[in-house]
Symmetry: C2
């Protein structure tokens, strides 16, 4: 597997799994009927944001990460990131590789920490992965996410400093 | 004092104190050099967002609140809000009145809770006010705000359910 910066040419390969994940409504606070053009603008933003993809030996895109400043002005020294791994490619370590890449990127870019604003508490695989990479749960906003199966569940704020 | 919905005609009276607050860089994670047009778009967004102003008996605007959904899709049942009170009008209860108004608005609009994402921990008057209105600190992201006087300080995530 290899991680490289995404370009507009990667979008047709990203959209199918991004759409599948958003439409499922289990892990992202995005409209489940998010259209392709809005999704493209969301996922391939301008610098200082950066989007990367992880590809296998055949060049297939297994997942993607979007990274940038969590806030503006006096809050712009903390990074945030969003991850999408193709459900068909789950369990191969793509999420972990993208997470490690993101932390490396944030350190190189001079960020002082990384914050995830809304990790769905029932997304236990993601929560465990981020914890294993050094993140802690700062707090959990109760019932802040309406899960299609589990109903109202909490959203974790997760964070790790970059030393 | 009276609270009413803001219109575009109120902007010239809002901009001076909003600019003063943002330029001071002590309470908002916004660019300190935020321009007027960007500020206007930020503070007077389209529905479902709502902006209100609080005026005194002479019609002077003392402060303003912007209220809307904190997230999209499965997260859109939690409201958020931002407040600006003219420094020259501090201590008259405008912030408290705007906070109470916002909670009433959120209840009327059917939100299930209100979340503040980034309350600067050194903004002790605001933190105390929100606590007195029923908010609790869900967690504090360490060193997430670069204060011009105090250096790197924490950002509180605050929340209250609407019953």
């Amino acid at each position: 597997m290899l991680i490289r910066e995404a370009t507009g040419e990667d979008w047709p390969a990203i959209w199918p799994f991004l759409h599948e994940i958003v439409a499922a409504g289990e892990t992202y606070a995005l409209p489940r009927d998010l259209g392709e053009q809005a999704a493209r603008e969301l996922w391939l933003p301008a610098p200082p944001w950066c989007t990367a993809v992880i590809v296998n030996d055949f060049g297939d895109i297994l997942g993607s990460v979007k990274m940038g400043p969590n806030r503006e002005g006096p809050g712009s020294h903390i990074a945030t990131a969003s991850f999408m791994v193709a459900p068909a490619s789950a369990g191969q370590g793509a999420g972990r590789a993208l997470g490690t890449h993101m932390l490396s990127w944030a350190r190189t870019e001079g960020y002082r920490g990384v914050q995830f604003n809304a990790v769905v508490e029932t997304n236990t695989r993601a929560v465990a992965l981020w914890k294993s990479l050094g993140f802690t749960v700062i707090g959990t906003v109760p019932e802040a996410f309406h899960h299609p199966v589990h109903g109202y569940v909490g959203l974790h704020v997760m964070h790790q400093p970059i030393s």
